[in-house]
């Protein structure tokens, strides 16, 4: 079975909220790329409709399962206030993986979702996930647009990013320097994330298809610190290149409104804290000063390109009037 647990040859998708504008476009595009990956959609009240060319819509996940017993992943596109309901429905139906693409899930619902998923042994990715792309295997969500292979080459580097946009941007920067990806995943930047770097690292350590991890972090929370702790504990020994955004905000803070966050996460959460802890975690880690140094970082760690390097040392402009 090729591919990570969250998206592999066995993955069969039901799209929740499938008849919405963004979701139906993603369904059409994904089916053109990987026919047969999405088996069904669910929109309560729209059972019986079909999204062209041939994805049938059901009222409930259980109805969809009755017609398609292979379903094992729910892709959530419902409005923020309905996310909890949709994820709990998927968990209750026994689906093992859930991607939440929806942005702005209430934090209270995100905490409830994480609790329910942990208790049921379900992996929830997101909210605010861009999705996941495994070259040659499949695509979840809109990652890479109509033609993901334009920006994401096939190879062995794993990209995990809080920022959706930087997921693809980073994969493309890697590809242009000759590094293909095993997969790229937007984990989302919500405070309560269903799946973090740390949640994936154990699996990546054991997966021979992963040669290195590129981690795009952001200020806030402690998920980057947790990744650093896993490296320090020897649980992740593969090359890890990280960039953490948001350091510039540190100089701009005034007198804080409340301090509860600072107490709960003492000495953590700032971009500079994260960078320091990651850099000190192990000799298999490099932290990029500038975002564009990420590729140099993985190469310093001994990762060899598997594709052609198409970038000139001095990139010429496409157009210039200077």
């Amino acid at each position: 079975m090729y591919g990570p647990s969250i998206l592999n040859e066995n993955t069969r998708i039901v799209v929740i909220g499938a008849t919405g504008r963004e979701a139906s476009q993603v369904v059409r595009e994904s089916e053109a790329l990987f026919p047969g990956l999405i088996l069904a959609g669910v929109t309560p009240g729209k059972g019986g409709v079909t999204i062209e060319p041939e994805v049938p819509i059901f009222n409930t996940i259980k109805e969809a399962q009755a017609a398609h017993s292979a379903l094992n992943l729910a892709l959530i596109y419902v409005p923020p206030a309905s996310v909890k309901d949709a994820v709990l429905e998927a968990i209750d139906a026994g689906l093992k993986t859930v991607f939440v693409i929806t942005e702005h899930t209430p934090i209270r619902d995100a905490a409830s979702i994480y609790r329910a998923a942990s208790e049921a042994g379900v992996k929830v990715v997101g909210g605010t996930s861009l999705g996941c792309f495994v070259p040659g295997v499949g695509r979840i969500g809109a990652i890479g647009g109509k033609d993901p292979s334009g920006a994401l080459g096939e190879g062995n580097v794993v990209v995990i990013s809080k920022s959706g946009g930087l997921t693809v941007t980073t994969a493309e920067m890697l590809k242009r320097r000759g590094h293909g990806v095993y997969f790229a995943m937007g984990m989302g930047g919500d405070v309560i994330a269903g799946t973090t770097y740390g949640d994936m690292m154990e699996e990546l350590e054991a997966d021979p298809n992963c040669s290195a991890l590129v981690m795009l972090g952001e200020v806030g929370g402690t998920y980057e610190e947790q990744a650093a702790e896993m490296v320090a504990a020897g649980k992740f020994t593969k090359p890890l290149a990280a960039f953490v955004g948001g350091e510039f905000q540190e100089d701009q803070e005034g007198v804080a409104f409340g301090h509860a966050g600072a107490v709960v996460e003492r000495g953590k959460g700032k971009a500079s804290d994260k960078k320091r802890l990651l850099a000190a975690a192990g000799s298999n880690v490099r932290v990029a000063r500038y975002y564009h140094n990420l590729v140099d970082c993985i190469e310093e760690l001994g990762v060899k390109p598997n594709l052609a390097d198409s970038v000139a040392s001095q990139v010429p402009p496409k157009y210039s009037t200077i």
Binding site: A111, G145, G164, M173, G245, G246, A260, V263, V315
Partner: protein, 434 residues
């Protein structure tokens, strides 16, 4: 959204029956304040601001007489509290404090659950409480924590060494604080101090007045979830992150997305000090953040922050382009985004931005001395960048355009070097000496 203390007490403490001091709210001295001070033999007058450390700023005053109260109200209303003007004052009953606890509830990314934080050493700045005297108790996400669970926590922090007689009452109060945290969809509730106060009450047996201990929340710092199922703005109105007033351009930008949900182009904020000389037209949350960060790092001074995304139509892009280009004092423009999955480059840059430049040139409001650096990838990028280049040519604009071959964060470096070379740009900060 952060709430003022009087909003938190008036709406949330009251609703969830969290005991607090009696109070009135005022913006000037008046008869209600005078009556309150007469009834309670004095008061504490507190500035209603969103910054912390009010006491250190002199914005909390103890008064004993009506005249002192009137003076305190007038003084505090005229004050700047760490740069913030008070919106009101709270005139509160004085408390006879026996001890001060620290109590907060927020979400922890360590446990991905709510966490209750308690200390017997409240009252002081929480950062100053020694680490071994403050304890985090993770709790399972859900609408309630049972009082017995709180009692276990209180025993663990040493509450019962002196105050066992009010253990049950304290556990009920803190369980209510949790109910308020969950029910009001807060991201954080912080009560510092949650005070143990002495009150006079009639003894049930003897009928005589005796001193008893009780709990009282003497402050309220509440931050509501901006993504709550009911948007906090509906109840509390819009609230700027800054203490200064919004600029015309910021207000105009807000209107872009208000009645049109296709994509997002209306996030436009200027730096707190309104300075800066680089117009930033940046796309996507993460892409915008790394670009701005790199600008500061290489000594450029951004004049605004934007985060455009979700495939906005050309009209929206036209509107935000005009706003970005209209700020006085600009020297360069950075149009910078990663590789879009969804946003059409021919529509946003090739149509929206191009029309804005052409129209401003026609009106004579376009500054053609600016240097532009463009870096963008995504759907229809070739067409979009070509149309933009043709626009630069016909309007005599000095610009270089890159696609996604150029790593996104090299774009600010290129703009800096061009500005230094052609416009004698003074690079900010340490970079100037380097």
């Amino acid at each position: 959204m952060n709430l003022y203390e009087h909003e938190a007490v008036g709406n949330i403490y009251t609703r969830y029956k969290i005991p607090h001091a009696k109070y009135v709210v005022a913006t000037e001295p008046n008869e209600e304040v005078a009556q309150f001070v007469r009834d309670h033999g004095g008061a504490v007058v507190k500035a209603m601001v969103l910054v912390g450390k009010r006491g250190k700023a002199g914005a909390v005053k103890l008064v004993n007489t009506e005249a002192e109260a009137a003076q305190a109200v007038t003084d505090i209303m005229a004050m700047q509290v760490w740069g913030e003007t008070p919106v009101a004052v709270m005139v509160c009953e004085k408390a006879d404090i026996e001890a001060e606890l620290y109590c907060s509830i927020t979400y922890s990314t360590e446990t991905r659950s709510p966490v209750i934080t308690l200390s017997m050493q409240g009252g002081m700045d929480v950062e100053e409480i020694p680490e071994d005297r403050i304890t985090n108790f993770p709790v399972a996400a859900g609408p309630a924590v049972e009082p017995y669970q709180i009692r276990d926590m209180l025993v663990a922090i040493g509450f019962t060494e002196k105050y066992g007689s009010i253990l049950r009452q304290a556990s009920l109060v803190i369980a209510q604080v949790y109910a308020a945290f969950w029910g009001s969809e807060s991201r954080m509730i912080e009560i510092n101090p949650l005070a143990i106060v002495r009150v006079q009450k009639k003894d049930r047996k003897s009928g005589e007045m005796v001193t008893a201990l009780t709990l009282r929340a003497l402050d309220a710092v509440i931050s509501l979830d901006d993504d709550a199922s009911v948007a906090p703005q509906k109840k509390y109105g819009e609230r700027s992150a800054y203490t200064r007033e919004q600029t015309r351009r910021e207000i105009d930008a807000l209107l872009i997305d208000r009645d049109d949900h296709r994509g997002k182009a209306g996030s436009y904020v200027e730096p707190e000090d309104l300075g800066g000389d680089i117009g930033m037209m940046t796309f996507g949350g993460g892409g915008s953040a790394v670009t701005i960060e790199t600008c500061y790092d290489v000594g450029l001074r951004p004049a605004n922050f934007t985060d455009i995304g979700g495939n906005p139509p050309a009209e929206k892009m036209y509107a935000i382009s005009r706003i970005i280009l209209s700020k006085p004092g600009l020297k360069g423009i950075l149009v910078c985004g990663g590789t879009a999955s969804n946003t059409r480059i021919d529509v946003t840059l090739g149509e929206g931005l191009v029309n804005a430049i052409d129209d401003m040139a026609k009106e004579g409001s376009l500054d053609t001395s600016l240097i532009w650096v463009v870096r963008r990838g995504g759907p229809e990028v070739e067409k979009g960048l070509r149309l933009l280049h043709e626009c630069f040519v016909r309007n005599n604009i000095a610009a270089v355009i890159y696609d996604s071959e150029l790593p996104i964060t090299e774009a600010p470096l290129i703009l800096r070097d061009l500005l230094v070379k052609h416009r004698d740009y003074q690079v900010a900060g340490q970079q100037a000496q380097a």
